[in-house]
Symmetry: C2
Subunit: 201 residues, 2 copies
């Protein structure tokens, strides 16, 4: 994890920003692994090798720290953008591939953090809903343009949530240890079906 050793910059920067970054990285890791409620500020501080008081010094409250950890404005959009570049007839595969590939890289992603925290933390629930709506649902619905676009986009949300919970949180087999290609092969058509499937009813 967080191999953020300071740059050997000449003159070496007075450590402040470095500690802050380490705290943030560690927070992402622990929040992603145990959720908001089950992660203590003390645990974060210990894992980051700093004093608990410093966490509050930099971030004010636990809630603010979580907000900072979840906010990856700029880091996520590019990945999601790739979903929308390409034909509508293969978008199912691209959604699944992008989702799984990004989440596999680390559990520190906002989606996992929020999905783990949402069930017991009202604020996380709101954040997650907004995140999904803004980054996925709205764009998908706009892309489709059909009358039932909203319902279809929501069905994709169900796939994303189900897949995230099954693979990264509950680790249900054989979903958890399947390869990216296997998942794309299985869930790609399923997501495609949600969007461009049969009768618009």
């Amino acid at each position: 994890m967080a191999e953020h050793d300071t740059p050997g910059r000449p003159g070496r920067w007075r450590s402040g920003a470095e500690s802050k970054q380490r705290i943030l990285d560690t927070a992402r890791e622990l929040f992603g692994e145990h959720g908001y409620g089950a992660t203590t500020v003390r645990a974060i501080a210990k894992a980051a090798g700093v004093d608990p008081a410093m966490v509050f010094y930099f971030f004010g409250t636990k809630q603010d720290l979580f907000g900072a950890a979840v906010d990856m404005s700029g880091a996520v959009p590019p990945a999601i953008a790739s979903i929308f570049t390409g034909g509508l007839d293969t978008i199912g595969e691209r959604i699944v591939r992008t989702l799984v590939e990004n989440l596999d890289k680390s559990g520190r992603t906002p989606l996992v953090m929020l999905t783990r925290s949402a069930p017991t933390d009202a604020r996380s629930e709101t954040l997650l809903r907004e995140f999904i709506d803004r980054e996925i649902t709205d764009r998908l619905a706009a892309l489709l343009g059909t009358p039932d676009a909203t319902v279809r986009a929501a069905m994709v949300n169900v796939q994303i949530l189900g897949l995230t919970v099954a693979r990264y949180i509950m680790r249900i087999e054989p979903i958890a240890s399947a390869s990216v290609d296997e998942l794309v092969e299985r869930f790609g058509p399923l997501v495609q079906y949600c969007l461009t499937g049969p009768p618009a009813a």
Copy 2:
């Protein structure tokens, strides 16, 4: 389910069993609403109108209370049994209908309780995985009999988890306020596709 009465009869023998039942009902309600970690014994006691100490008197520990709340052996199987009575070609609809109808009745069902608690509580995670495997995956896989039966059954699990999280925990629209029939119409074919869909790869 269980409408605790509180008989207005003055002088009624204070039945221990009644208090115990009230505690259990209240525990199911709160665990289902906030998950294991975010539900305190005190809150349960207060909502049940008894003393916190009594909760421990009856159930020993918080964990044991949760175990008792989650254990509905005998109450769930019958509902699930109805899924497996009927043709394989319409099982998708039956799965969705049975799931949604039962969960709509109350949030105190084991599935919702466990799904809400699993992300932050390791024991709940195990319980949920075992519950799903035993009650659904194993039976579905056995019913199919195909070589990829396990994967297909797991795909159904993803649907169930996704649907449960979206409708009952995160309350994503328009999934949350959709009618049972709408959901059956939308997700029935999807689940059916998981099980008896295209090429067995």
